[in-house]
Symmetry: C2
Subunit: 591 residues, 2 copies
């Protein structure tokens, strides 16, 4: 099984030409940022990904995780050492607050680095991913005292973090959470059970800091009665060292389709005197605090779709170049299967989806930086709206792409693809979690159709469409090839505009419309955003074609995207335009 | 985990209204066939599927198969007993030749029965599926003496059958097979290794009869030098009883993504004196003999897609009705997730795909009966061409639907879907083999675009389109609803016609066109065929609406198909019409 090689050329291209790293470098605090710095960071991260994390991926899948002794979780051989190496090299702290030991780099730069971790070893990568979310929630919402006590160890990675939302009876619906908190002096006591806690217990970090949604006795019912608590496995002493063991433990780990090396824990809080917890943010404002961690986590989970697509592409490509089989059109002897047009179609589809989703994800993440740091409040507001709009698109669309590309990867391998030894199957299994966790893609699509479109009166979508049409204008002034691609893309933007108008103008009494249209709307928005970035990429690459084969290839992949991927919008639009009637026609009892 | 219930109402509807069971009953040899007989056979089969096979499905997946002792394969607990029950009740012999103990029922009736086996337990069902293929190849090609000696035990199921094509270096490409045969008196000696031999060795049947493609020393190179041999695990004595052990054995079983309970064997022939084999058909005509078994096996594998889609739908539907979560539009309190429009969209997509693919598969299989039995040679020729055309469509399209529906089924379950315990994951894993085996869907698509369309000068497609347009005419004379559905469908048929013309008129020097267009062409043909059958179903159900809720529901599902599934043809057509240039633009070395 081939190991993963970070696609540095494409990553740098997206950073330099689509994200506009130069613009980020002008933001206060990012002055040190440069193309060269970015490149050297990516190169170093690529080494850890290829040499350390990637070789552990297949063995980790095979070994899985196991509970032993007194509720300890043993991770696969080598995982803990790899994690120490990651911590020692400072990889965990890239984008975090320099006040607490972070390196203060832009999120947009941490993103390609994280893409590598997940491509190399998604199960392992989930540990820092969850830590990142917990750190962000603490950074934004916790008291200075709590930050000072917990953040430095979390930011340097010696302590990991988790998010505890789900309970057995409450998956997507937080309103019915039952875990309870009781006030006790300067802290709280937490009692309850949480499920699906990714890396809830393990042996890679010295401490696990849980963020737990729980309900105070006097809180209002529903989501408005939830508060967020920091509940560490070990309490931190005043000097930040490990203190008393808290009253929480892992009860079991799930047997899952994939990400076998990532412990998905059932956690129990307060079986005895109650787990000590510290309030993060205000009482009864837990959901708002949770969202501050979930939004970026959603972007990162979307990125995992890109990661696994890249990895699956690399494996399939290597196989297609290696495997002799059949005489392709125009050939006189047996050659590698990459010569067959249908295999080319598969590889091009994989590659075009991967490159387009990478570009969309990175660009969305750069809006997070611009929202946080831009000196101009208008620009901050603009990027706040843009990041909010693109978050469900990145989470939803890119995580549909991950499993799709992984599945094509299995297919490229033929019968060997179905045999676990090949490795393609692991990506197929691993990637299937992506459309589910961190808010199912159904939830994402409703967020996009309702909050981010209808309740926003279409403003953020309109602004996106304005940007897209500016790129079209630019493309129409290019050479014949670029001009044709701009025309192909323009048709999809017009269709998106129409669908958005339909969402806005649909009478309120068609209560099922946005819910039944939303998933197709999300996919349509995703595939059109992909076209947007591929057209931008084409325009950027067009001037540089002679310089490196990379640029000419980028345009070829973009052309394939316009020809064979973008037209998906046609079927999404048709389904949306058909309305909700047939979706809702069958009575519940008739299913 | 809910057990499988055979969808008898839909199966009977398809048989009676779309397949035209009455017409089959007029074929010579099928005189006993009636709606009532069909219904009672389906009911009985449904009991075995629900009560015996289905409960073994999840435990079988968990247990897998293991080699022990002297190259014996142990199947999961209960599998062997279930198989004995299947044999004792005569289920293996339904559609086979009465001369050798078969029951002589139409293939079209054996098909719903087989759908049940695969829905209940696909891993188990692969054993009779492979036997069926072997029996057909022997029926059509073997000498009377060989038939008399081997068929009775195979038809009654006490002996199972396999097909041995693939070798480690030759997957889809048979031209380079190396297994060799040597003449020795009235038989042959076989030497070589075969891989991916489904149910190649096991403990459910008393004997395993292998059909093996091998090369005689004086044969021409390539596929024209292959001959087909019957190579039994135990030779049959003159009285049909078990004789001498043959020189063949299983070397290993694969560790696969799914169908864990189906042994996928590496088989070794002739490690000592050579495995005794008997020629099936003529020397050097092995490929033709193999195809006589592969065509029907392809239809049955397509049917497995329907099976797993049905099973996944049932599980997801039950979960959606059960699981309370969130307040749906128009509701005032928390209700089951089936109330949410996006969950409805998922369930309707699952159901529409399942029903449409079932109809297409059954109708295609009825053409096999009509080809075999119709007294009118013109009708035989018509159905020969129709079966040939629809075989890659059923194999390709229905096996894309299986994994798609299984994946939606995982999604309906949310986080629980990713946990193996729920069962949805098994269908996701099991179904992934379907687009690969029995000729990858890439191979199917090239068969469709080249042999079945271009080399046929479009005649079979034209005849299909004539039939489709006749249904449209009928629909346009119906009520407003049917008329609108006929219009929706008509647009897709026009697009199919155009694409077919493009395939026929494309200059020969565009050597990559059909290969790069073929997969989209297959999917387009599939989704349009689904529309054809859903429109026929609507017309049939329209008169009966008042009689049973089933008929009204059928029309609702068909309307959803027209609104939300059929429009996929738009994106397939766009990709085909874009030509092969961008698919082939990237040089091999640039991947």
């Amino acid at each position: 099984m081939a190991d993963y090689i970070a696609p540095l050329e494409d990553m740098n291209f997206v950073l330099n030409h689509l994200v506009d790293l130069d613009a980020l470098a002008q933001l206060p605090g990012y002055e040190d940022l440069s193309t060269e710095l970015a490149d050297s960071i990516l190169q170093e991260a690529g080494k850890l990904a290829s040499n350390v994390l990637s070789p552990l991926n297949a063995p980790g899948d095979k070994a899985g995780v196991h509970i032993h002794g007194d509720a300890e979780v043993a991770t696969p051989s080598g995982f803990s050492e790899a994690y120490s190496q990651f911590v020692d090299s400072g990889w965990g702290s890239l984008q975090f607050d320099t006040d607490f030991g972070g390196q203060g780099l832009p999120f947009a730069l941490a993103i390609p680095v994280q893409e590598m971790w997940h491509a190399a070893n998604m199960a392992w990568g989930l540990c820092p991913l969850l830590s990142q979310g917990a750190i962000e929630a603490i950074e934004v919402n916790a008291s200075q005292e709590l930050k000072a006590r917990y953040l430095p160890n979390m930011i340097d990675g010696r302590w990991s973090g988790t998010m505890n939302l789900t309970e057995p009876h409450a998956g997507s619906d937080m309103a019915t959470l039952r875990t309870r908190a009781e006030r006790q002096g300067d802290h709280y006591r937490i009692f309850g059970q949480k499920i699906y806690i990714t890396w809830g217990e393990h042996d890679m970090a010295d401490n696990v800091v849980h963020l737990v949604l729980a309900r105070l006795p006097d809180g209002p019912p529903g989501v408005k009665g939830l508060s967020l608590f920091l509940v560490p496995k070990f309490l931190a002493n005043d000097d930040g060292s490990i203190g008393q063991r808290n009253d929480l433990r892992v009860l079991s780990v799930e047997h899952k389709i994939g990400v076998h090396a990532s412990p998905t824990c059932v956690m129990s809080y307060g079986e005895n005197e109650g787990a000590i917890g510290y309030l993060v943010g205000q009482e009864h404002r837990g959901m708002a605090c949770m969202f501050s961690m979930m939004n970026n986590a959603r972007l990162t989970v979307g990125l995992q779709g890109v990661s696994i697509a890249e990895r699956a592409y690399q494996l399939a490509r290597d196989h297609a170049k290696d495997r002799p089989q059949g005489i392709a059109p125009g050939e006189s002897s047996i050659g590698p299967i990459i010569k067959h047009p249908d295999v080319r179609r598969m590889l091009m589809t994989m590659r075009a989806l991967t490159e387009a989703s990478r570009a969309v994800a990175y660009v969305a993440c750069s809006s997070v930086d611009l929202r946080n740091k831009h000196p101009d409040p208008e620009q901050r507001a603009h990027h706040d709206a843009r990041a909010a709009l693109l978050t469900p698109v990145v989470k939803g669309w890119c995580t549909e792409i991950g499993p799709e590309v992984a599945s094509i990867g299995v297919q490229v391998h033929g019968g060997m693809g179905y045999v676990e030894e090949t490795g393609a199957g692991q990506y197929y299994r691993d990637s299937r979690i992506l459309p589910i966790y961190e808010g199912t893609n159904g939830i994402q699509s409703i967020d996009l159709a309702e909050r981010k479109t209808r309740f926003d009166n279409g403003r953020a979508v309109d602004s996106l469409i304005v940007d897209m049409r500016a790129v079209i204008e630019q493309g129409l002034q290019g050479d014949e090839k670029v001009c044709r691609m701009a025309q192909q893309f323009a048709a999809s933007v017009d269709a998106l505009d129409e669908v958005k108008n339909l969402l806005l103008t649909r009478p309120d009494d068609d209560i099922y419309f946005s819910g039944s249209a939303s998933f197709n709307y999300l996919l349509m928005m995703g595939v059109v955003c992909g076209g947007w970035q591929m057209l931008r990429a084409t325009i950027a690459a067009n001037g540089e074609q002679g310089r490196l084969p990379f640029f000419a290839n980028k345009i070829k992949v973009a052309q394939f995207y316009m020809d064979s991927v973008l037209p998906r919008y046609l079927s999404y639009a048709a389904a949306i335009n058909a309305g909700s009637e047939s979706t809702m026609a069958l009575a519940e009892g008739d299913f």
